[in-house]
Amino acid sequence: MIEPTQPVSQAPSAAFDRQAAAARRTLISLKGVNKHYGDFHALKNIDLEVAEGEVVAILGPSGSGKSTLIRCINHLEAYSAGDIYVDGTRVQPGPELIEVRKGVGMVFQSFNLFPNMTVLENVTLGPIRVRGRSPGAAQARAKELLEKVGIAEQMYKYPSALSGGQQQRVGIARALANEPRVLLFDEPTSALDPEMVGEVLDVIKTLAGTGVTMLLVTHEMGFARHVADRVIFMEAGQIVEEGAPEQIFSAPQEDRTRAFFQSVLAH
């Protein structure tokens, strides 16, 4: 069981001790994970451990398996071989999967807000249905979260009435509502107009300092560099290189990593 935490209501990012986080126990572990789509080998022997409170950015070219990797962690994709554990629970179909998902929030590239519900209902659905909160308690908590992401005035609106940036901030509030220990982000700003990227990145940056464990697939190199504790570079279904952001960005060891940064910088 994953104990609820209060991810947003803690110390600001500067005060968070990254070194201590790295020394903490492992929260997510992948061992020899393989994933096939038919004949296509999308993940090849992935080994990865993420410590509690760690912020991990995942980079790599399109089709390298970044989304597949994080979607296996909450079992939106079934993996074909290997083991994934979240806080000691194996991620697999069955009753424990609900327990895993309670503790793992996900933010999607295309927001995926529920269009048939108001912003407030989007955020309270999980706490009421999954955590068994009373509607009153869930709403009070949801209002706090919506305030944190700067969107409280919009809470009685439907998602279609919000801008992309606002929708994604609701998406983040919804992912936080179950009080997860882990947040998975799959290119949270890729579907946004450029002028809205900043507001969403700001929210994510604030979260990165609160002790919640984060896996973040992103093409925002500067953001990854400044916010992540560790950067993973993937290509063709494999982890090619990983390390501290300074090391990966300034002195990549692998040719493929260097080639990727060059192609990104060229744009």
């Binding site: 609900i98 998902r101 995926n112």
Partner: protein, 223 residues
């Protein structure tokens, strides 16, 4: 004037009207029950077809295809006149209701399926990612969106069921059409038939209009 005297004789209409109203009551009861059961059965069939275990899925597909191919009248006659040979005897109302429900649920199932399949994958995924059970994913997230999309075709299907209730007169159920033909025989005048047609229109025309309105509103996107 002659035409009116023949087809719309006021005294005849007044005299036979109670019979027609009784028949209308039967028609509405049969239609309403068959529609309700068809909507419930159709949802069950659609979910089985989409998410049931493999063998059951194939059985469901077979059921849906067979009952969308069979003429309603043929199936109704079989249920009423053939089943007694294997020891199942149903009243005219029960036979008609069974036949209509079995067929309308097959049509409804395909409409539900189209609706569920039209809900984007991301909606299922977002619902799963917050830890909702399969049942909750369906009830809270998918079905409310799917049903919004399919209200126009579903209403159309209900109209068809309501119209098909007239076939029940073939198995001697005293529905509106049956009552009208009997009244016509008694009065030796076709006015009751015209009266019945008008009553069908009173019930069904508003529904047809409603479908038109719904389709227009839904085409404009959600409020």
């Amino acid at each position: 004037m002659d035409l009116v005297q023949t087809f719309f004789k006021w005294e005849v209409l007044v005299r036979t009207f109670p019979m027609l109203v009784q028949g209308l009551g039967m028609t509405i009861a049969l239609g309403f029950l068959s529609i309700l059961l068809g909507l419930i059965g159709g949802l069950g069939l659609a979910l089985l077809r989409l998410y049931g275990p493999k063998p059951l899925r194939f059985l469901t597909i077979a059921y849906i295809d067979v009952f969308r191919s069979l003429p309603v009248l043929v199936w109704l006659v079989i249920v009423y006149y053939a089943l007694p040979f294997v020891g199942i005897t149903l009243s005219p109302f029960a036979a008609a209701c069974t036949a209509l429900t079995m067929i309308s649920s097959a049509y409804a199932a395909e409409i539900y399926r189209a609706g569920i399949e039209a809900v984007p994958r991301g909606q299922f995924e977002a619902a799963q990612s917050i830890g909702l059970s399969q049942y909750r994913v369906m009830c809270d997230v998918v079905l409310p969106q799917a049903i919004r999309l399919i209200i126009p075709p579903l209403t159309s299907n209900c109209i068809n069921v309501m119209k098909d209730t007239a076939l029940a007169s073939v198995v001697a159920m005293p529905d509106l059409l049956k009552q009208a033909t009997q009244a016509q025989a008694l009065a030796a005048n076709p006015t009751p038939l015209i009266g019945a047609a008008l009553l069908y229109l009173v019930v069904l025309l508003p529904l047809v209009r409603l479908v038109g309105l719904l389709e227009k509103r839904f085409a404009q996107g959600r409020a």
